[in-house]
């Protein structure tokens, strides 16, 4: 036994396993085990402790009839889709501007647009909540509204769910600070210069070139943001976590529902919110499994659909 073990270890090629071992061990403990645990515990009444008993498909059954879960799925779909459209349109627009700019200032512009990404995201969130979309009359957006003769509003603090949604969408306006435009810009710079030159000879205007040449040529980047946008968006709950707390709107169970999303629902279950009739951790695992399936399905569909466009 020890001999063969020694043989495996000292064999020139199998020594490769030793190089992989630390990474592999860490992943087994902190990545693989939680996945297995999530799957198995989704069939139990687990409440976070060391024991749990099997309850079959009960969690999934309760989940299926959970109004708050359906509402949160709808919310996250709206937030993801609208957020992706706004964010990508803005990044693409900025990338096109930078692409068409022939100037030594380009480097400085690029630097300044990326700079905000270095500010801790929680600081940016609180900044918008306290100063820009603040409900007070001194808030930046309210000052702007008043300048146009419009009425101030409460923004994030509003009791009206629609106003809070609008605030979430407005957050980050003009949605361009950060690094995503760089990836579009890299895609644009990768387009063969002769194609651009040919479009100029054909007297194709800039506007038509953007849609007829640039966009199809950077399908790879668009696809990347589409896939990543869905994966990230469906899991995201930063706004709920830092600002809205899932509110406003009706309280269902112990939770607010207006801007509730699955990620925040799961987070609340972990942090001690109870769901009647089920173990909160087992229930969170079941919800996680459903989200996993949804995210996987969308990723596969995205890959298929966008790929067929490329051919």
């Amino acid at each position: 036994m020890t001999k063969s073990f020694k043989k495996i270890i000292t064999s020139r090629e199998n020594a490769g396993l030793l190089w992989i071992l630390p990474a592999f061990a860490l992943m087994c403990v902190f990545c693989l085990y939680p996945v297995i645990s999530a799957f198995t515990h989704s069939f139990t009444d687990w409440s976070g402790g060391l024991t749990a008993s099997f309850v079959g498909f009960k969690n999934y059954g309760v989940l299926f009839k959970d109004n708050l879960f359906w509402l949160s799925l709808m919310n996250v779909t709206i937030l993801t889709v609208v957020g992706m459209v706004i964010g990508n349109a803005a990044s693409l627009f900025l990338a096109e501007l930078m692409f068409n700019l022939k100037s030594k200032a380009a480097g400085a512009y690029r630097f300044l647009f990326v700079l905000p990404a270095m500010v801790p995201s929680i600081v940016v969130l609180l900044l918008w909540q306290k100063l820009i979309l603040s409900g007070s009359s001194a808030g930046v957006m309210n000052t702007v509204l008043r300048a146009f003769g419009l009425k101030s509003t409460e923004w994030f603090a509003s009791k009206n769910t629609f106003v809070v949604f609008v605030s979430i969408f407005l957050y980050g306006f003009p949605w361009m600070g950060g690094t995503s435009f760089l990836i579009y810009l890299a895609g644009l710079n990768g387009i063969d210069q002769s194609i651009i030159e040919a479009s100029k000879l054909d007297k194709l205007g800039t506007f038509r070139r953007v849609f007829l040449i640039d966009m199809p040529m950077i399908m790879g980047q668009i696809k990347y943001f589409l896939v990543m946008g869905f994966i990230g968006g469906l899991q995201n709950y930063t706004m709920q976590y830092a600002i809205t707390n899932g509110g406003p709107g009706k309280v269902i169970g112990d939770m607010q529902s207006g801007t509730m999303v699955p990620g925040y629902y799961i987070y609340q279950l972990i942090c001690g919110t109870q769901k009647e009739g089920v173990g909160s951790y087992g229930y969170a695992c079941a919800m996680g499994m459903i989200m996993f399936v949804i995210i996987m399905a969308i990723t596969v569909v995205n890959n298929k659909v966008v790929k067929s466009n490329e051919d």
């Binding site: 976070g48 930078m98 990326v114 801790p120 609180l126 930046v140």
Partner: protein
């Protein structure tokens, strides 16, 4: 005569297009500057207000400090530093250990995958990559229970650091391996003929050659450590002296939690919390932008 007219026409057409190009360039500059103003405006407000008295923030939120209406005040920064310095130190410790662990283990694994041929190698590598597909939303509950209840790493830095290193493995191994594969075999074979063992080849060849990608992964790990709030707060909650920047700023550095902190102090604290990464970026923006755009995506 005719040719002269023709060439004259052509000339004016040329200057016309040149003028049109210049006008459109000016328009592009103008739009970019307006957008830049909008992007940076929140940070302008943050900075100017951190130099004012609390009462002046409400009266003159937009103005520069140092006017008779809003005198320039520096004390907020001193007060804020008293709170923030501990958070900063914690974040730096956590970030450095996460970066070191991620780079070391990911590069070792990448070396194992690219320089050895052992049974099941491709299967193991695929398993590594598959974890890029696992959404965090699925594993949050079991991971938290594991770290907090089973491993008893609640309220410790290890509870923040170890899962972060593990989570960085799939992408890290993938990116570094791609980089190692770009190095010609002959380079390694020549070193082997010179009698260099694997450890020496890893240290003196593989690592130095892959500096750009190591730098990129290191920076993204740094950003991750700096911005992580959900996991760090779950693990560290209740242990104020271990709070990171994001957790501290969110949980306790707050005028509603702590009455002795005014809004100006809060804004000064935000400035201090943002400064380190802004400086890192200012010093390395070239490599940073290059790393982001070149290696990151090939779909």
């Amino acid at each position: 005569m005719q040719t002269a007219v023709k060439s004259g026409n052509m000339l004016s057409a040329k200057t016309k297009t040149r003028r049109r190009v210049r006008a459109s360039q000016i328009a592009v500059h103008a739009v970019i500057i307006v957008l830049l103003f909008l992007v940076l405006f929140p940070f302008y407000i943050l900075i100017v207000n951190s130099f004012k008295l609390p009462k002046d923030i409400f009266v003159n939120p937009f103005s520069f400090p140092g006017t008779p209406q809003a005198p320039l005040v520096l004390t907020a920064f001193g007060t804020a530093w008293g709170y923030i310095k501990n958070y900063l130190l914690n974040t730096v410790i956590i970030a450095v250990l996460e970066i070191a662990g991620t780079l070391l283990f990911a590069s070792m694994a990448a070396y194992g995958f690219s320089r050895f041929k052992f049974a099941g190698k491709n299967i193991v590598f695929t398993v590594f990559l598959a974890f890029m597909m696992i959404p965090g939303i699925l594993t949050l509950a079991p991971q938290y229970a594991l770290v907090y209840n089973n491993l008893r790493l609640g309220q410790t830095m290890a509870g923040v650091i170890l899962p972060a290193i593990a989570g960085g493995m799939p992408t890290g191994v993938f990116l570094i391996r791609t980089f190692f594969s770009g190095v010609p075999d002959s380079v390694f074979e020549a070193a082997e003929l010179d009698g260099a063992g694997h450890i020496r080849r890893y240290l003196t060849l593989a690592l130095p050659l892959s500096m750009p990608i190591l730098f990129t992964i290191g920076l993204s790990t740094l950003l991750g450590a700096w911005n992580d709030i959900i996991w760090a707060r779950l693990i560290l909650y209740g242990k104020e002296n271990l709070y990171t920047i994001s957790v501290g700023v969110f949980v306790s550095f707050n005028s509603s939690v702590n009455k002795s902190i005014t809004d100006t102090v809060v804004y000064a604290g935000y400035c201090i919390a943002s400064l380190p990464l802004v400086l890192v970026f200012a010093l390395t923006s070239k490599q940073f932008i290059k790393g982001l755009t070149s290696g990151a995506i090939k779909m």
